[in-house]
């Protein structure tokens, strides 16, 4: 495989995983170990290819210095259909993420939720409020006095929880815990042998 093709392939992979954040020419050069000028030329060629190839449904958009992959405008119709199609799961995924964050970190502001998720979360918060699963529980100190969100009684009912403490512990450190025990155990093991 020649190096230009490899770079193109790398760039497509990188833009694919970087999502809405996109990547700058500089970042792409660093990540692919290519020269910036070379990356620039290749990106221009890729932009051209994506645009003109009619069997491609995505293209590269240059926005505020970053490059990102987006769907082609002409396919908006079928994407709109996807939005309206109830089989779409991403909506509930977004709602469940927000709900988990509110449940475990309450009281919490919208901005804090968005920091954790890394994406705007106005819509899912709105949905969850409308469903009565989260509610305003107060206002944050300081300027702006942002709304603080918390879960409702209905939330407990919906998930069959006695109270908020009945929530299972967050999985975050669990695998870590397991490792710790094993390490400790094995350290002891070794100690005895060597001791």
């Amino acid at each position: 495989m020649n190096s230009k093709m490899r770079l193109m392939s790398n760039i497509e992979s990188l833009l694919f995983v970087s999502g809405e954040d996109g990547l700058t020419k500089k970042q792409l050069a660093f990540l692919t170990s290519g020269a910036e000028e070379e990356i620039e030329v290749i990106l221009q060629e890729m932009i051209e290819v994506y645009q003109t190839n009619q069997s491609r449904g995505i293209e590269i958009k240059q926005l505020a210095g970053t490059y990102q992959l987006v769907t082609k405008q002409e396919n908006i119709e079928c994407i709109q259909k996807l939005v309206e199609n109830p089989t779409n799961q991403s909506l509930s995924q977004a709602s469940l993420e927000v709900l988990a964050i509110v449940a475990y970190k309450q009281p919490i502001t919208r901005v804090e939720i968005e920091e954790i998720r890394g994406v705007k979360s106005e819509r899912p918060i709105h949905t969850l409020s409308a469903k009565g699963l989260v509610q305003e529980v107060g206002r944050a100190e300081g300027t702006g006095r942002a709304i603080l969100y918390g879960t409702t009684n209905e939330f407990l009912q919906y998930f069959g929880l006695k109270d908020i403490h009945a929530l299972p512990p967050l999985p975050e450190d669990q695998s870590g815990d397991d490792m710790e025990d094993t390490d400790l155990f094995m350290t002891k093991f070794q100690e005895t042998f060597e001791g």
Binding site: L82, E97, G160, E180, D183, K188, F189, T192
Partner: protein, 259 residues
């Protein structure tokens, strides 16, 4: 003083037994009970089991091994018709253990396969679905049925964490053991005597300190090996009971146990 070591860990008594069978190159269908029991005891002795749950499981297996070993030492009744004995498929005391080991081994191997698949899968990435809620009317969103349980919520959270790739390295340091096994053996006997010679396994572990738990456990093993105590369990995962078999053991005790 502290150590930082990483070696092979065992997933319970069956895993340890498989390891020993493998290392000793023993035929799983013809396990040398004396050899395996001795090795098992040695290993478990050396291991410092942390959780009470696990400790009891290793202990039960120790008891099982000792029991099989002693059954195999019993002479085969030769007074009956010899031909009969020869033809009859005599129940081998090891049978049940062998079946359990084989069954467990299958899943242990399947777990290895899963681990390989996990590694292969980690070589490619998908992307999170685009958040399309922007294009959705609020009315549509409100109508959307949320059909989820707590674990769906946790699963969603997990997906998000994976996206964010959060992690913190772990370093665990351990301090050296403080109570000797010998001292703890004496303690255990004292406690058993006070308890009328029979106590539940958990009553022997009133303290929370991990080191003490470990030492107590090891002292139990030693006492078992010397047949000073006996451990009983009615069925899997039920409470263990520890019996004192010999009341007056002081003299023998003093000479024998040496660190």
């Amino acid at each position: 003083m502290s150590y930082e070591v990483k070696t092979e860990a065992f997933e319970g008594p069956l895993d340890l037994l498989l390891h020993l069978i493998n290392r000793l190159e023993i035929d799983i269908y013809d396990i040398k009970m004396a050899e395996i029991t001795e090795q098992y005891m040695e290993h478990v002795h050396a291991m410092r089991v942390l959780e009470l749950n696990e400790a009891s499981e290793y202990l039960v297996m120790a008891a099982t091994l000792l029991s099989i070993k002693s059954k195999m030492l019993l002479p085969i009744h030769q007074d009956d018709d010899i031909d009969d004995d020869f033809d009859m498929d005599l129940q081998d005391p090891r049978d049940e253990l062998v079946l359990r080991l084989i069954e467990y081994k299958k899943y242990k191997e399947a777990a290895e396969n899963l681990h390989e698949m996990e590694e292969t899968r980690s070589l490619y990435y998908s992307r999170p679905p685009t958040d399309l809620s922007e294009y959705q009317s609020s009315k549509q969103l409100e109508l959307l049925e949320l059909d989820a349980n707590v674990y769906d919520m946790l699963g969603a959270f997990q997906k998000m964490l994976r996206r964010k790739q959060l992690n913190a390295p772990l370093h665990t340091r351990v301090s050296k053991q403080e109570i000797s096994i010998k001292a703890q053996m004496k303690n255990v006997i004292e406690v058993l005597k006070k308890g009328g010679g029979k106590l539940s396994f958990y009553e022997l572990f009133p303290m929370r300190d991990k080191n003490t738990i470990v030492t107590t456990f090891l002292s139990l093993l030693e006492l078992m090996k010397r047949q000073i105590i006996q451990v009983e369990q009615k069925s899997n995962f039920e409470d263990l009971f520890v019996h004192l078999r010999k009341e007056d053991i002081e003299s023998e005790f003093e000479d024998e146990i040496d660190e």
